[in-house]
Every structure is written in C-alpha cells, then in structure tokens.
Amino acid sequence: MTLLEVRGVSKHFGGLLALDEVSLSVESREIYGLIGPNGAGKTTLFNLLTGLYSPDRGGFYFNGERLMAAKPHMVAERGIARTFQNIRLFGNMSALENVMVGRHARTHAGVVGAVLRDRRTRAEEASVRARALELLHYVDIPEQANNLASHLSYGDQRRLEIARALATEPRLLALDEPAAGMNATETGELKRLLETIRGDGVTVLLIEHDVKLVMDLCDRVAVLDYGKKIAEGTPQQVQHDPAVIEAYLGSVLA
C-alpha cells in the first residue's frame, strides 16, 4: 500500500529551481532513502512535505488524501514526524520534557484543565510522562531523562530527536541525515534502531549521506540531483545507474 505519494512537486527560490517536477511514492512499512549531492533539494522536499513551505506546483498525498496547504502542526497531526539536519531540540528543557512536548498534538488539556488539574488532566499528564519515559527507553537513553537536551552527547541528541518525533505517533518518520557526524559504532546502533522502528510499523523516509547505511538499510532509494529525480530503485540498481555515478563523480567524458 502506498503511504506517501509525491506528485510533480516543484519549488523555486528566486531564480533557483530547487525542485523540478519530483514524483515518488513511499510504500507503507518500507525504509525509503533519499540521496543526492549537497544542494540537490532533499531537505527542501522535507520542508515542503512538513508544511514549512508550500510547493509551487504539485502536491503530497498521504494515506490517499491530499495534504492541502498544510501547516506544519497539521502535518504532524496527520501522522508525519520529522527530525532536522542540524538538530533542533529544546535545548534548555530536559530530555524527558522534550519528548513530552512531542505528545502535544495527541493530548487535549487546555487552560482550564491546567489550572483546575481535574482527574482527567492528571491522568493525561501521567500518561504523557509515562509514554515519554517509555520512548526514552525505546531509543536507549533512559538515564538521560532529567538531563538538559543541550548537555547530551551528539549521538544521544540524535536519538532524543527521534524519540521526540516518535512521541507524535507518526505513521511516517522523516529523518534528515540522522547519521551525520556519527562514528561507525553509533551508526551501527542507529541502523538497528531504525530497523526496530520499521518493525513496529512506522514507515521511514531517510535523507542520508552515509552510502553504506543507505545501501544496508533502505528498501528503495531515490536519487536527486539539481532538483530532479535522476534514479529510483533498490540500492543495488541505483548504485549501478550511470546517471547516479555521473552525478556523484562527474561525467567520464568531461
């Protein structure tokens, strides 16, 4: 079943065509890789998908429905969660609080509930806390619960960002270069975490530069170059695609 369909999405910034009629479809429960040289438009695609910008042409269909002029918070409500290329945690809040914020869209307490702290609000608050702790265990950093997000190590910050994204109960988890800056051990652990996440029924859309990780992990891969999709297929197919080799290494004839 197709979970996410990108249909002919174009976007330009001033004179720069960042994305040019990009179409792709992500199947439910797969790990889909998005690769390409720097400036190819991968993050732009993420930003369009999550509603930070709106596309000039084309659109996104999630679970069969069009995401119409969606605002970021609505996209999160619909079940798409993301992490950021340059980690964007709430630095001066504890790790636990960060994950608790992720529960916002799935909880309801308003001002009246907050002030009166009635039985329902208390129950909701307790469940938010419990779920957040559970997620910290899930990404294997429970001991960091009360530490400041900004004090965590780089690898733990990446994990925390994933836990926070998972707290929104996404069907699609969009990760922007999660392995950037990680060493081989950390990347190996990340790979296992992503496999667990997929095993638990969450579809993963992954931007990544680490070729080995992409080849090992992804079911299918799309390659972007100068805003165009130049190849799509299994990692093996893409690896041998002449257009991809040219994009990465330059033309043999040049």
Partner: protein, 367 residues
C-alpha cells in the same frame, strides 16, 4: 528546589511553614503601619498590585519568550474599563464582581487583537511593534475626548467607585473584633487574595501541557511547529492570558486610586514592569515576586535619602530626587552585571546562562 521537596515530604513542617507564612502575611500591614507608618501599607498594596501585573507579563515574556514592550496597554484597558463603567463620568455604576471578569475578558480580547498582527515577529521586531501598540492605546485614551467625550482626555476620570461588596465598601474603615481596618488595610486583604489566586494560576499553567508548549515555542519555534504545536494559537493564548492578568490589575488600580489618567500608562511604566520580571528572574514566579518587591519598595525607601543627608552631612548636597534615581539605576546595573539571569533565575534561564558560559569556556580553551 530541594528544600521544597523536603517540605513536601514532611507534612508537619509544611503546615507549620504555611501557618507562619499566612500569619505573617495577615499581620504584614499592621507591622508596616506600626514600624514604618501608614504610607507603607499603601506601598504594600501597590506591591501586590504589581505582582499581579508582572506575573501577567511573565507569561508572555518569561514563559513564551515573546518580548512585549507595550504591556501597560492592557493595564490601561482594564483601568479605563473599570473607570468608565463605575464612575459618574457616564453615570454608570456596575458592581465590582461584574467588572472584574469583564475587565479580564475585554483585556483578553485586546491581547488577541494586539497579538494577532505581531505573530510573525520575534525578538527585537516584536518588541518594537508591541511598543507601538502600547503607545497607540495611550494616545487614544489621551485624545478620545472629542468629538464624543469617551475617556475625558488628559484630565482622566475622577471619582471612580471604590470596590464594594453590596453595602460593604472597602473605601470606608470597618471595625472588626475591636480593630480598626482602614481603607488601605481592606484593599491589602482583597489584593492579597487575588494575588494568591494569580500566583496559583501561574504555577499551574507553567507546569502543564500549555506551559510546556510555551517553553517549546520559546526554545525553538520551528521545532515546536513540527511537533504538532499550533504556534499561532499558543502564542495568542500567552498574549490573552497575560493581558487578562493585566486587565484585572488595571481595574483594581482604578478602584484603589479613585482617579486615572493616560499619564499612568506611559512607556516607562511598561519598562518598569519588564524590569520587575527581568530583575527577579524571567520565567520564575518567586523571582518575579522578588523583582516587584524590590522595584516598588526600593524607590520608596530611597525617599529617606534627603533626611539622611540632612542628618549625616548637615545639609543637602545632592537633590534627593536625583540621587534616588541614580542609586536606583546603579542597583539595576549591578544586578544585571552580577546576576545576569536575575536574582532568582528560573531553572531554565539559569541553565541557559550556564550553558553559554560553558560554551564560552570551551571556545576560550581552543588554541
């Protein structure tokens, strides 16, 4: 925080502390009157009034991180609403219990109206625009005496009804169990009750889903959006809540003073309230209360400088009024130099400054 936890675990000590604090607060006006004079009871009333006001601004600035320099506008809206609906100016005399929620509600609407156009702005730009809005409200109040006289212009509104519950007016002295309670005493207890309510609401809001969302917006708005927080609504909520606290304080101010004019709502007033929030420790309720106490009490205490000069030096060398502001300014500068996160920084703010120090230290260590 650990003392607090200890208290929580020991109910006996907690109750003792609570009863002592309650007794102290109840006796405070008597103590002030006895040791310092009647005028200090009035100053205590103002301390409480400003605590309510500053805690409202604290929601906007401290919790949600939106720098609002026009906050006094909501104080003005609350004050004028009360003044116009409970004075001979229009001949309307609505009761206090109706005006208090009405003031909160109308200020709340103004909070949303002023907040809405500023939603896209942050930091310096937000400060400038809110400053403009604050001035617009004041200038309106100053000029709405023609062609139809609504606000009575610069002359302000006089003879505002004091707070009264039925026939029990806080303006008159009352005798209870042989003790005479004059007007400033009556207002003290009313303000104390409302201040406690405002503190309670602030604390509950801070530690809730809404409070976390405000903190998230403060920390990283884009990430907050991606986590499913409707940042537009959550920011408007901060403006609305802050404004309603301001409106309530404004109404109380009008009733307490009996007279208001646009002069009470100038930019410097906004800045004073912001100073109270920042000096004590943005985002920390206890810090804000301390900030208010210092900034209301200190200028009053410095009034004794004139007589002190006379006694110590034989004659007045420096005009006490000048010296008063000089010392006051110096005190502010010293606090900001030595305790940049405020006197009682909130845990978050404290961390923020510590993190910056660490980052600096690390940068410094680099070759």
């Amino acid at each position: 925080m650990s003392d607090w936890e200890k208290l929580k675990r020991n109910p006996y000590a907690a109750w003792t502390a609570f009863i002592l604090l309650a007794a102290l607060l109840a006796l405070l006006p008597f103590l002030a009157d006895f040791f310092l004079g009647r005028s200090w009871v009035r100053i205590l009333d103002f301390v409480l009034l400003y605590i309510m006001l500053a805690l409202g601004l604290n929601i906007v600035v401290g919790f949600a991180g939106l720098l609002d320099l026009g906050y006094v506008a909501f104080f003005a809206v609350g004050a004028y609403l009360y003044a116009l609906l409970a004075s001979p100016h229009f001949g309307i005399h609505l009761p206090f219990w109706a005006l208090l929620p009405l003031g909160a509600g109308v200020s709340c609407i103004f909070g949303v109206l002023i907040g809405a156009p500023t939603l896209r702005l942050r930091g310096d730009y937000l400060a400038i625009v809110t400053l403009g809005f604050g001035e617009i409200i004041r200038i309106f109040l100053n000029n709405l005496d023609a062609p139809v006289n609504i606000t009575n212009g610069p002359q302000g509104v006089n003879n505002i009804d004091p707070v009264s519950f039925g026939t029990f007016s806080l303006y008159q002295a009352h005798r209870f169990i042989g003790i005479n309670f004059s007007s400033v005493y009556n207002y003290f207890y009313l303000f104390l009750a409302l201040t406690i309510l405002v503190i309670f609401i602030s604390m509950r809001l801070q530690d809730s889903r809404i409070g976390r969302a405000w903190a998230a917006v403060r920390e990283d708005e884009m990430a907050a959006k991606a986590m499913g927080i409707n940042t537009r609504n959550i920011k408007l909520l901060a403006f609305a809540m802050g404004a309603s606290f301001g409106g309530v304080s404004g109404g109380l101010f009008a009733a307490f003073q009996g007279f208001i004019s646009p002069e009470s709502f100038t930019l410097i007033e906004s800045i004073m309230i912001l100073c109270m929030v920042v000096l004590g420790g943005m985002g920390n309720i206890a810090g804000v209360i301390l900030g208010v106490v210092l900034l209301v009490v200190l200028p009053e205490a410095l009034r004794y400088i004139g007589p002190a000069e006379q006694v110590l030096l034989g004659r007045i060398f420096v005009d006490p009024a000048d010296l008063r502001m000089l010392i006051f300014g110096l005190a502010l500068i010293l606090v900001m130099l030595f305790r940049p996160a405020g006197l009682l920084p909130s845990t978050i703010r404290k961390r923020e400054f510590e993190t910056e120090d660490e980052a600096e230290a690390q940068n410094g260590a680099r070759p």
